[in-house]
Amino acid sequence: MSKVRSFKLGLSTVSRLWAERDYDAALCEVENLLNDWPGNAHLHILWASLVQLQEKPKHGLEEAKQALQRAIDLEKSSPSGAIELGQFLDAVEDSPQAASKAYSEGVALAREALIEGLVGQAKALHQLDKSEDALRCLLEVLHLMHLGSTRKRGKSENAAPDILFGSQTGQIFALQLKGPFADQVEEILNEVIARRSPRSGAPAAAGRHGGF
């Protein structure tokens, strides 16, 4: 059996044992998988979760916390480890302040992944001539970028926002495009609006210092 197939089979066994509430056996299976895949962050998260569920624990809660921190170190771009650590810090250690910091890191990573997915989806929809659907994805991107922008704006920045956009609740937001996806968002936004404008009467472009 190939290593990948045996890994998938192992994960499926873990899921079955977990659902049957046989946490000791599930933990044993995760430990077997970790022997072959020590760098797999997901396995460390599973391990930490199962340790907490054991009736007769063989590991301490501090070890569970360390496993979560290891998962974060192993997969720095994934939000799962940070969010799971947040849950642990709040529920097990009753430390909402530390939990809030971990959640904040996890949420930022999740937001970035979602933005990347939505920008990709908008590009694909645009190629399929589905401008309205592409625009919906981009509006969600702008909303997420707005939520993620916490930096205080200077006077000159306030005078000239890059984008004005309306949320689904009807509020109007001003947003300066920045971050790793800013250029891509501006480019696809301009393309989508340019294609859409002859039919809908929308502005020809909504790039920097524009709006829609």
């Binding site: 599930a26 569920l53 054991q54 009736e55 624990p57 809660l61 250690e93």
Partner: protein, 69 residues
């Protein structure tokens, strides 16, 4: 899923009973009693901690079920 009549001690696994948030004197209270006491104003810190342990257990148990679906 935790039921209102379940005792805290039956809902919190042995592992989480080693947390500083676990308080044995609330172990015989039902989940419903714990929720009620945690909602009091001002809330009892120890009850609130017990409630969080129960809900963490529930969440982790459900995680296994979600993985199967």
């Amino acid at each position: 899923m935790a039921q209102d009549n379940d005792l805290a001690d039956d809902l919190i696994p042995g592992s989480l009973k080693r947390s500083k948030s676990y308080h044995q004197d609330y172990g015989k209270k039902t989940y419903k009693e714990i929720k009620g006491l945690a909602a009091a104003n001002p809330p009892d810190k120890r009850v609130r901690q017990m409630k969080k342990l129960i809900e963490q257990t529930q969440r982790l148990q459900q995680k296994g079920k979600r993985r199967r679906s």
